[in-house]
Symmetry: C2
Subunit: 218 residues, 2 copies
Amino acid sequence: MGALKFVIVPRKVSAINQVSAINLGRVSNDVKRPSGRHHGDLRRVLEEAALELVAEGGPKACTLAEVSRRAGVSVAAPYKHFADRDSLLAALVQKGYAEQRDRYVAAMKRKVEPAEQLAAFARAYVEFAAEQRPMFELTFAAGLDKTKYPELLNAGAELFEVLREPARNLRNTEAGSRDLVLAVAAAAHGLAVFVLEGVLLNVSQAKDLAASSARAIV
Amino acid sequence: MGALKFVIVPRKVSAINQVSAINLGRVSNDVKRPSGRHHGDLRRVLEEAALELVAEGGPKACTLAEVSRRAGVSVAAPYKHFADRDSLLAALVQKGYAEQRDRYVAAMKRKVEPAEQLAAFARAYVEFAAEQRPMFELTFAAGLDKTKYPELLNAGAELFEVLREPARNLRNTEAGSRDLVLAVAAAAHGLAVFVLEGVLLNVSQAKDLAASSARAIV
DNA sequence: GTCTATAGCTGGATAGAC
DNA sequence: GTCTATCCAGCTATAGAC
């Protein structure tokens, strides 16, 4: 009829936390610490290894076991830093959101006209996908259940809000500005996907297209 | 720490299936062939089961083992019909492409002006994603290496060509019409993704947005 | 904080009988 | 064409030592 199975349902979510804001600044000194020394930095090392794996074989190739191997630690070690595999991915995605936000804010700051700000965002979006491919894949194609990680939903919403300001200057109604943001972001997203899928081979061309689509939609 | 939860894990097979008779042309006579009878229709039954699984848990939940269980056959049976798991998925994706083509051609046929044809396509694209979600997910988020399945590349290119005609009527150059197709398709794709991700909740609204984006880009 | 060791499971794929 | 039986590989997660 059936079998009884015991399942641990993690209750505390907090383990995911703390991803805060350290994007670049790789510690590129060699990772090879053959055995058990705690470098204290393992969390970051794990994140980097995970990103590498995504880069090489997509999200599904990013297993905790392989991440551990790459990091040169045992398969048990990651569990001191992440509740489980998905939590590791979620942490990465959150970092990705933070970096995206920074990029978009910076890109828009260089323009004054709202329409040009949105065009700059569209450019930056495609650029992010191209330059940070694994991050992008992780964010949109890792099959991660984002509803389980409220921080991610928040980060996504925050991203949306960044675009809301220029949009409000271009539309009278709330619904109008919301639709504008959605349409521009969707166009940029679609082109980004095309670039990653190989449909569009030339990145700068894709960026141009994104910008002109954004202007057209405005 | 966590909570213990008891879960009934159905071990025996067949109780699960029963779900057939879904799409078109179903053989709705009872699927209950408890043992070894070759209905000859297994290939289709497997495809349907696979699609169901994608619908329930995304591409990664679609394993050959589970597909076999659903279909009420042994895990070895599928190998007479598909070389391996990816081949099954690829077959589904190809069916999906064919259906998409039909839909887009039909949608565009109802319009005469090229711009309206592209808008109709954009609508139909979002509609397809919403109505045939598992197909759409399979096509764009199954992590399938399409370069291993030339039929898929062809089918994708064919889809592209369908849009090329109206685009040529709107742009003078080859590059121009190609970019137009890409931009319109990208906008539609982005909105479709937003719908599936839950960012955009209202499908008909998404379709409207897709159509107006398409018109704007034109 | 990290290791070793291991339990437990699931899936892919094959061989050989019918 | 399908089954049974089986093998193997790989991953997740935990326990307990240091």
